[in-house]
Symmetry: C2
DNA sequence: CGGTTTGATTTTTTCGAAAATCAGCCATAC
DNA sequence: GTATGGCTGATTTTCGAAAAAATCAAACCG
């Protein structure tokens, strides 16, 4: 399911593969990205690599140090907390708009994508969250919830934030044998969305995001370089909300 | 003030110059970006151009059509309205956080950047808004208001949205001889921010953004290809707010 | 001994030619 | 008359070598 250089330009293909590798931590946070190695890994030339890297820089998954090459964007508790804060803001807004504007087709897509995710979950058994396939369906489900939002710009921002958060989720999933009652939460969120209960849906999605963050910090926080800049704490943000 | 390839990589320099040219509409919305022409214009090679273009794609100022080259991101009333909607959401949030977290240095920076902008304004006379220099100071002033926001991610999103909006403002400024009472508005916003009146500051910044958008549509709307996709109207968003 | 300069090596960045792809056009067939 | 198939020229995309810059370490002073 991962190979489709069909009609796609080579650079775009490398972009997709590298993004996936960064999100799934095959390329570890903070790792130096040397061209020689990447060239072997993805079988493309310097320039093509550089193009993919450049786009990832603008997406925030890679940082470029002037004349010193590229590095996988580092992770930190401060960044995760900030990301969570922004995500709550954006996701709530998207959800509110989607519930307002969504039609029957939108509802059908939600139910469909939930079903696909749920089925794969039972098929894969207790380790479903380690599967890249499930990760994709999980992303699709969350997207379907807000798809009818009507604001292309907000949706695009949301998508990029979601992907960056996915990297943090992924980091903790290797430590966490069972992924809480996430499946139950998803069902509750879906139900409240379909019932057009905006306040409840927003409350649930916020809790969903916040609790996931707490779990990541609890189980994988020790992996982050705590020696990072921490200009503010989470409680600041919560209070501001 | 525009030339500083000091310590900067060549590609980054081209990136800055192209971004400025797109924002100031030297490169017109929807224009096809042919490599041959760009190579002469910026005096760099294909690969370097491609790198800059790629970053601009991820920033939303350029769109890449698979295997058919690059195009300056088109403008449309739908996009402007959507942009305005997201900007109001983000800018209000940033401002609220900044007022909450800001310290004395932050206030001083606001006053300083307002003063710089104001001085240049009187020095340039009635056509100040056409100057790129003023455009920069105007951007600096607005940034200074939210600089203490404390959320790097939100600030980065804000910055990109601001730049895209600047392109729209620029399109209308050539038609509009006098730029309303914008300078008075800036003063009022600054005063309410320094007075830490969150609600008032947010209200003022929202009006500031919304009225600018209305003016752009009124005076330059006829330039946009109205034949664009328009999945929703502005009133949708306003109502949702 | 601490600190700076120099030179060799590694790594990044830039370049323009070569390959791949697209767009328009005409000939041909049905 | 319309559609299909291949040409040709223009444009994009990819490539790896060459240039520029950084890194590391040994040699060199104060």
């Amino acid at each position: 399911m991962r190979d489709k250089p069909a009609g796609e330009t080579r650079a775009a293909d490398v972009l997709h593969r590298m993004r996936a590798d960064i999100i799934s931590c095959v390329l570890k946070p903070g790792a130096k990205l040397r061209f020689e190695g990447l060239r072997d890994m993805y079988a493309v030339s310097f320039s093509t690599l550089r193009e993919a890297l450049s786009r990832l820089v603008a997406e925030g998954l890679v940082v470029a140090e002037d004349q010193r090459g590229f590095v996988v964007a580092p992770v930190s508790i401060a960044d995760l907390n900030d990301l969570t804060y922004v995500r709550v803001l954006v996701e709530r807004e998207c959800l509110g708009l989607a519930i307002k504007h969504g039609n029957d087709g939108w509802e059908a897509d939600i139910i469909g994508s939930f079903h696909r995710m749920d089925r794969l979950q039972t098929r894969l058994g207790s380790n479903y969250y380690l599967s890249g396939e499930w990760g994709k369906l999980h992303g699709d489900f969350h997207f379907s919830l807000v798809a009818a939002c009507g604001s292309p710009n907000l949706l695009e921002i949301r998508q990029k934030l979601f992907e960056r958060a996915h990297r943090y989720r992924r980091m903790s999933s290797q430590f966490r044998p069972k992924w809480r009652a996430k499946d139950v939460e998803h069902k509750m969120i879906m139900d409240s969305v379909i019932a057009r209960d905006t306040a409840k849906a927003q409350e649930l999605i916020e809790r969903h995001i916040r609790e996931t963050t707490e779990n990541v910090i609890k189980h994988a926080g020790h992996l982050f370089d705590a020696a990072d800049e921490a200009p503010h704490t989470r409680s600041d943000h919560v209070a501001a909300e």
